[in-house]
């Protein structure tokens, strides 16, 4: 009984964050995309309950909100890791062998093309099409820090560093 009550209270708190976002945006249907962006900022992805809750609160069909959330590559319906690694596979980076970096990341984190978030929810690897820094190819961005002329060795090093910091914390 107590466990259920706790769980329920937690969910109310989660949704309180969504309520706040909705209020900030005046429950304005035309602000659906900024609302989803802000929800994603809080949860790191768009959880199913949040999508449903946003839809009903804005008096929009859930299928419509789901359509918007699945249209834009920016939105993710799957949980993301705490640390996000964006690896560019645009033309320039591809030619400069970004695929070797990808393989190294996948190997180190136990990932694949279909599963890009590590099981401990620590890392997500996003393969993106261009980061606008072709002169530095191949490029990877780790938690908003850009690393130019990256190599598989650098990728491995950065992951080890983050892991060490996390276990120290």
């Amino acid at each position: 009984m107590q466990e259920t009550i706790e769980k329920t209270r937690e969910e109310v708190q989660r949704l309180a964050a969504v309520n706040e976002i909705l209020e900030r945006n005046n429950y304005d249907q035309s602000r659906l995309i900024p609302i989803l962006q802000q929800v994603q900022e809080v949860f790191k992805y768009l959880p199913k309950d949040a999508i449903t809750y946003v839809a009903t609160s804005l008096d929009l069909p859930v299928a419509h909100v789901y359509g918007v959330a699945t249209f834009y590559a920016h939105f993710s319906l799957n949980p993301k890791g705490k640390h996000i690694i964006r690896l560019c596979d645009g033309t320039a980076c591809h030619v400069k062998k970004s695929s070797g970096i990808r393989e190294k990341l996948y190997e180190k984190l136990g990932l694949s093309d279909d599963n890009r978030t590590s099981s401990d929810l620590m890392f997500t690897v996003d393969i993106v099409s261009c980061l606008g820094a072709c002169g530095l190819a191949p490029v990877m961005v780790v938690d908003e820090v850009v690393h130019g002329q990256a190599t598989p060795e650098l990728a491995a090093e950065l992951i080890d560093k983050i892991r060490a910091e996390e276990s120290a914390a």
Binding site: T4, A55, F71
Partner: protein, 665 residues
């Protein structure tokens, strides 16, 4: 008066006035430009790129989304345009599951027809194999994404006409699909089963679920006595499948065809439509006299009922508790026929032929069953019965008409007009006005509630009382009206709601290709039957009187009649809330228990109750058989449901409901 302007199409001068777009002007000129995504009653989408035309000085544009202008010079058939159209069709065909021979849309498929018309003999593009699973979760509709050409007609009809939006575009590029939220099963979302998506779908991507095999199997089973009821609109729709004039009444020929098929007795749903009037108009007079639970809403349309249960639970007490005519027929048939026909109740098979896909859903509702056996066993649509006749190799036109079997074959004009928007209201008024005034009604026509306007209102003076009535079709129009009633902006005593445009005559189970012109003609077909009937008022149906006297406790509103002919409604509003699973049972059949938790304001009591319910479920040993969810909403409501039935928010009543529910599983 609107000015007449002129433009040129293929060298011919064409006049136009207020046409919305070039496509309408060109079609008026007798050129049927092909389209998939254009429906005059829906918004303009401009996606299919088939209605491309060359406008001199402006280039190639889509006629559907170009406004006509004075002096325009238009060509519809240049070499370039023909090639573009053909390539568009080829691309669609390359991406379409072309198993046409086994598709039940074959021969009425717009993609097939346009490909043939344009002479597309070869698809030069490589076909990606599409293997999305086919969704057959809904009792009413099948969804085959592999046949979808993404024209968006279904998406727009669902949101613009029905105000629901159960399906929408999801994903992007080559992964784009039309799907319910989270790609869930259509049978588990807010879809009200009206089938208007299937009615506009140009291909076989959305189809009414086919139940004809079940009917054949029942007919082949010698131990069964198979009887059938035919809804009003079927008789003015079916003929279109056999080249008859639109709106022609083929009831007699259909009776003959069904007898050839092997149905023992063929009855008329109009009989129970008359009976519905006895019950519903009595209910109206009672509420109107007491001035309580007004306005009264009609309950014949199962799509409307599910809509109200999902979106406007606060109006459920206002919905007539009468079963629909299909439901009443089922109940009366199960009660009366075994004895009359000398068969066992379990050997009686009741089939319905309906213009409607939602009736398939309705017949499966547990509350319309007796001791676990559905009162109506199988529901097939107008199109399905047409196909059964086709498969026998008979032409409906060659058959000698036959009469319906008695006693449930006698009906009045009041019963037959149920199929047209405004018909239930008119039939009810014919009954209620006469009862309230105590005088014989001389003019039985209430023409102000007829026609193809999606909202008709009237104020009648009945024996010094003002009676305000409204008739709406399309659930978006209903939503608008309900919100007005809620805010006090509008006030009515009696409201008829039908989901489909023009009423049941354009239900999701009617022949494909309804336009407003066709709808009008089908409606006129029903009004002609009414006009040529000797009995026009439901209360003149003496066989209904006899049925009441012999089997239903004497008259409308009796205890027995209430037990058999009335129903109750569910609260489905939690469907839309964000859910948190608390307990997940493991058995195949589970009882859904949902407790609403308001996210704003005080939710301590609701949270405590949820905790108590979870403890009870675990301790009582029902955890295997129960799915317990918390439903979160921003609205300040306290709602507890067990199997969608709303329960008082106290632990004792919830315990009782769960115990009862688990035992009934």
């Amino acid at each position: 008066m609107t000015d007449t302007k002129k433009l040129t199409v293929n060298g011919l001068e064409v006049e136009f006035t207020d046409e919305r777009n070039l496509l309408e002007v060109i079609r008026k000129a007798g050129i049927d430009l092909p389209t998939f995504c254009y429906h005059s009653e829906l918004s303009i989408y401009g996606a299919c790129r088939l209605c491309l035309v060359l406008v001199e000085g402006r280039g190639i544009m889509a006629a559907c989304s170009t406004a006509p202008a004075e002096g325009m010079v238009i060509h519809t058939e240049t070499k370039e345009l023909r090639e573009m159209r053909k390539i568009n069709i080829e691309l669609l065909l390359a991406n379409h599951d072309r198993e046409c021979t086994t598709c039940s849309k074959s021969a009425v498929c717009a993609l097939q027809n346009i490909a043939r018309r344009l002479g597309v003999h070869d698809v030069r593009f490589k076909s990606p194999k599409r293997t999305d699973p086919i969704d057959t979760s809904s009792p009413s509709l099948d969804r085959n994404p592999n046949k979808c050409i993404l024209c968006g007609d279904c998406v727009r009809v669902c949101s613009e006409i029905q105000g629901i939006g159960a399906i929408d575009f999801a994903n992007r590029g080559s992964n784009a699909r039309v799907a319910p939220a989270f790609n869930a099963d259509l049978g588990k979302v807010e879809c009200v089963n009206c089938g208007q998506c299937a009615a506009v779908c140009p291909t076989g991507a959305l189809l009414p679920h086919d139940d004809t095999e079940k009917v054949w199997n029942a007919l082949y089973d010698c131990s069964k006595t198979v009887v059938v009821q035919i809804a009003p609109s079927v008789r003015v729709g079916l003929g279109e499948m056999f080249g008859c004039k639109v709106g022609e009444n083929v009831a007699g020929k259909l009776v003959a065809a069904l007898k050839l098929m092997g149905f023992k007795y063929v009855y008329d749903t109009n009989f129970t439509a008359d009976m519905t009037i006895f019950e519903e108009a009595t209910e109206f007079i009672d509420r109107f006299t007491k001035k309580e639970k007004l306005p009264l809403f009609t309950s014949c349309c199962p799509a409307w009922v599910k809509y109200a249960e999902s979106y406007f639970p606060e109006f459920l007490p206002n919905i007539s508790s009468c079963r629909s005519p299909q439901g009443m027929f089922g109940a009366v048939a199960q009660e009366v026929l075994p004895q009359q026909l000398g068969c066992k109740r379990e050997d009686l098979v009741v089939v319905s032929i309906m213009p409607c896909t939602a009736k398939k859903f309705e017949a499966k509702l547990p509350k319309l069953a007796t001791n676990g056996k559905p009162d109506v066993d199988i529901v097939i649509t107008t199109v399905e019965v047409g196909r059964m006749i086709h498969s026998m190799g008979i032409d409906l036109n060659d058959l000698e008409p036959q009469a319906f079997d008695m006693p449930m074959g006698l009906a009045t004009g009041g019963g037959v007009i149920f199929g047209a928007s405004g018909g239930v209201m008119e039939a009810a008024l014919r009954f209620a006005v006469e009862k309230i005034t105590g005088e014989t009604l001389k003019n039985v026509d209430f023409k102000m509630v007829r026609g193809m306007n999606n909202r008709k209102t009237a104020t009648l003076n009945v024996a010094g009382n003002e009676v305000k009535v409204a008739v709406v079709y399309g659930l978006a129009a209903a939503k608008k009206l309900l919100n007005e009633i809620k805010s006090g902006e509008s006030q009515f005593d009696f409201v008829e709601v039908m989901a489909c445009p023009g009423g049941c005559i354009s239900g999701g189970g009617q022949p494909y290709g309804a336009t407003n012109e066709i709808r009008k003609q089908r409606q006129n077909g029903l009004y002609t039957i009414d006009a040529t009937s000797q009995l026009k008022k439901s209360q003149e149906n003496y066989m209904v009187d006899k049925c009441y006297a012999e089997h239903l406790g004497g008259g409308a509103g009796s205890h027995k009649a209430h037990e058999l002919l009335h129903t109750r409604y569910q609260n489905r509003s939690q469907l839309f809330d964000a859910k948190l699973p608390i307990i997940r049972g493991t058995k195949d059949n589970r009882l859904a228990v949902t407790v609403t938790i308001p996210t704003k304001g005080d939710n301590a009591a609701a949270t405590e109750l949820l905790g108590a319910v979870s403890q009870y479920v675990k301790e009582s040993g029902y955890a295997d058989s129960v799915d317990l969810d918390a439903a979160f909403t921003a609205e300040n409501v306290n709602c507890v449901t067990v199997d969608c039935e709303e329960i008082a928010a106290s632990i004792d009543s919830v315990k009782e409901a769960i115990e009862k529910g688990v035992k009934a599983l």
